[in-house]
């Protein structure tokens, strides 16, 4: 029988919440950067859409008020945010649930709100990288953005919050494989019909509907910021509402296993 060495004398306590959240954010982004597939999807698809969109618009002579790259680049940035905050997050979280990571963290001092904040922090880090890459490609295609920095930054932040909370909601109620399928399907549907890359005005009467979708609101806010240089408060409000809804749904339904 072992005697006391004093090594394990209890001294419990949670780290300050901000330090827990920082640790979680660092971990999330590190793991995502290590996963080549996810990163490829997050950067390569948006870049292809940008180059393809600009080339295609020139060929079919799409009637746009501004140059094709000026219209597409903000939308592609929105698409990149959506792919990371929604699709990548949902899939990663789905498999975290499968592997018991979420369950493990559920018995650690990190509260659910801290886990969400950590995940969003990790996503923002990845998004900084995405914005850098996409901006460089767009600038090479003669992109001439207006400096609507406040509007763009708010759009990315609120868009991330909205999509991340919805992605977590899906990954919390579905199995890992179903999450994988659903997250990709929703991503494709929103990319095609959700007014991310193309303005909602391009959808005719249907535009009034897609305008209220998180994808339409994010795309619209990015375009208003980077084409007109203004802050799209109504779109930002729509994103905020989705973020509140998604967070409420996730908080109510998320299961640790």
């Amino acid at each position: 029988m072992r005697g006391s060495t004093g090594t394990f004398i209890p001294r419990p306590g949670a780290a300050p919440l901000h330090r827990q959240v920082l640790a979680q954010a660092a971990m999330e982004s590190r793991l995502m950067l290590r996963n080549g597939e996810q990163l490829l999807l997050a950067v390569v698809i948006p870049v292809i859409v940008l180059i393809g969109g600009v080339a295609g618009a020139d060929r079919v002579g799409l009637d746009l008020e501004h140059s094709a790259v000026d219209v597409f680049a903000p939308g592609v940035l929105a698409l990149a945010v959506m792919s990371t905050a929604f699709t990548s997050l949902a899939i990663a979280t789905g498999f975290e649930r499968r592997y018991g990571v979420i369950k493990r963290l559920g018995s650690s001092p990190l509260p659910r709100s801290g886990l969400l904040a950590g995940k969003i922090g990790g996503l923002l880090l990845i998004e900084v990288l995405q914005v850098l890459v996409i901006s460089i490609v767009a600038l090479a295609l003669d992109w001439d953005p207006e400096p609507g920095v406040l509007g763009a930054v708010l759009a990315v932040i609120l868009g991330t919050a909205a999509f991340a909370s919805l992605g977590l909601f899906i990954s919390g109620v579905l199995r890992a494989e179903a999450t994988l399928a659903a997250a990709n399907l929703v991503y494709l549907l929103l990319m095609a019909g959700g007014a991310v890359v193309l303005p909602s005005s391009a959808y005719g009467a249907f535009g009034h509907v897609v305008h209220w979708l998180p994808s339409g609101a994010l795309g619209g806010a990015m375009r208003e910021a980077l084409i007109d240089g203004t802050t799209a408060w109504s779109e930002l409000l729509v994103l905020l509402a989705w973020a509140v809804l998604g967070t409420a749904l996730t908080a109510r339904t998320f299961k640790w296993e």
Binding site: M1, R2, G3, S4, T5, G6, T7, F8, I9, P10, R11, P12, G13, A14, A15, P16, R19, Q20, A23, Q24, M27, L31, R34, N35, F95, E96, Y99, G100, V101, K103, R104, G106, S107, S108, P109, L110, P111, W256, E257
Partner: protein, 316 residues
């Protein structure tokens, strides 16, 4: 009712716990207490309700009926207060597939205010050599040890360990046992589930045996195996017993002996281990035309206790 930080409050108090999954009753009115600074084993076969009970204590599941208190706290309503004070080792998993062993341990350490030194902990658990190995490439035993390290790193008052040595080699098992004993000596309460008799017998101060979600026996290993002058006689025969053998043997021996059929060629008799009992068993064999292959007299061990209580073995 004493305050939650009162040292007299039991580490764990489960009272009338009922948990169902659909039609299946996993825990059926379970009541048990775990005293502080002990190693307490919850022993039972697979599906007995051990893990469900543990997960209710850890705040993962809400009791459908009855109450559960850990350090006097409600694990669901007061989870933010409780969670930093407990350490949890899950039965498996609990890490990202691509995360490195040491990276995972350091991460959990960062969530706590006064974590243990992770160098020391890795050394103690034999994880120093695989610190840079991704989780998915760790052996089962290494994953188990990492799971234990994650449960301990926050310096908890209670650790809940679910089948801690499953999949470990004998050396790692012994190291883990010594570590759990050191935890107790340092004032940590250890609650472990196991279906290994030797583990419970060697480690535990107190054992709760559960089966079909109910507490069927409780006590120290000594209390459970003592039974006065009682001992066991293990009877193994060459051909399967004729039908109804346990009953006829029981009638032959009288009311002081208990008879449990282990399989078709062996029976266990628990009772006064004297010449007269042995003679009665021999005479019964003769009368029933069965040939004893062996007739062994022994001290009752935990396995015998369990067999007697449940009528079946513990191995999964």
């Amino acid at each position: 009712m004493p305050a939650p930080d009162d040292p007299d409050v039991p580490a764990v108090a489960v009272d009338g716990l009922v948990m169902r999954y659909g039609d299946k009753v996993a825990v059926d009115g379970l009541t048990l207490t775990v005293q502080r600074h002990t190693i307490t084993a919850v022993l039972g076969p697979n599906g007995a309700g051990k893990t469900t009970t543990l997960e209710t204590c850890e705040g993962y599941r809400r009791p459908q009926s009855g109450t559960v208190r850990v350090l006097g706290l409600d694990p669901v309503r007061e989870r933010t207060t409780l969670l930093p004070r407990i350490g949890v080792m899950l039965q498996g998993g609990g890490a990202w597939s691509g995360v490195r062993a040491r990276e995972m341990l350091d991460h959990v350490a960062k969530l706590h205010a006064h974590p243990l030194d992770t160098d020391m902990l890795s050394d103690r658990l034999g994880l120093a050599d695989c610190g840079r190995t991704p989780y998915r490439r760790l052996s089962g035993g290494q994953q188990q040890r990492l799971g234990l390290a994650m449960a301990l790193v926050g310096r908890p008052e209670i650790v809940f360990v679910d089948e801690p040595t499953a999949g470990m080699d004998p050396q790692a098992r012994r190291t883990t046992w010594e570590l759990l004993e050191e935890l107790r000596a340092d004032g940590v309460t250890v609650v472990l589930t196991t279906h290994y008799m030797d583990e419970a017998e060697r480690l535990a101060d107190h054992i709760h045996i559960i089966d079909h979600g109910r507490l069927i026996a409780s006590g120290s290993p000594l209390e459970l195996t003592r039974g006065g002058t009682h001992a066991t006689i293990r009877l193994v025969v060459t051909r399967p017993f004729p039908p109804g053998s346990p009953d006829t043997l029981r009638r032959t021996l009288g009311e002081h002996a208990e008879v449990t059929q282990l399989d078709e060629v062996s029976m266990l008799v628990t009772g006064p281990a004297d010449a007269s009992t042995l003679a009665k068993v021999s005479r019964w064999c003769e009368e029933n035309d069965v040939l004893p292959e062996s007739l062994t007299l022994g001290q009752r061990n935990l396995e015998d206790v369990f067999l007697q209580l449940t009528g079946r073995g513990l191995e999964p």
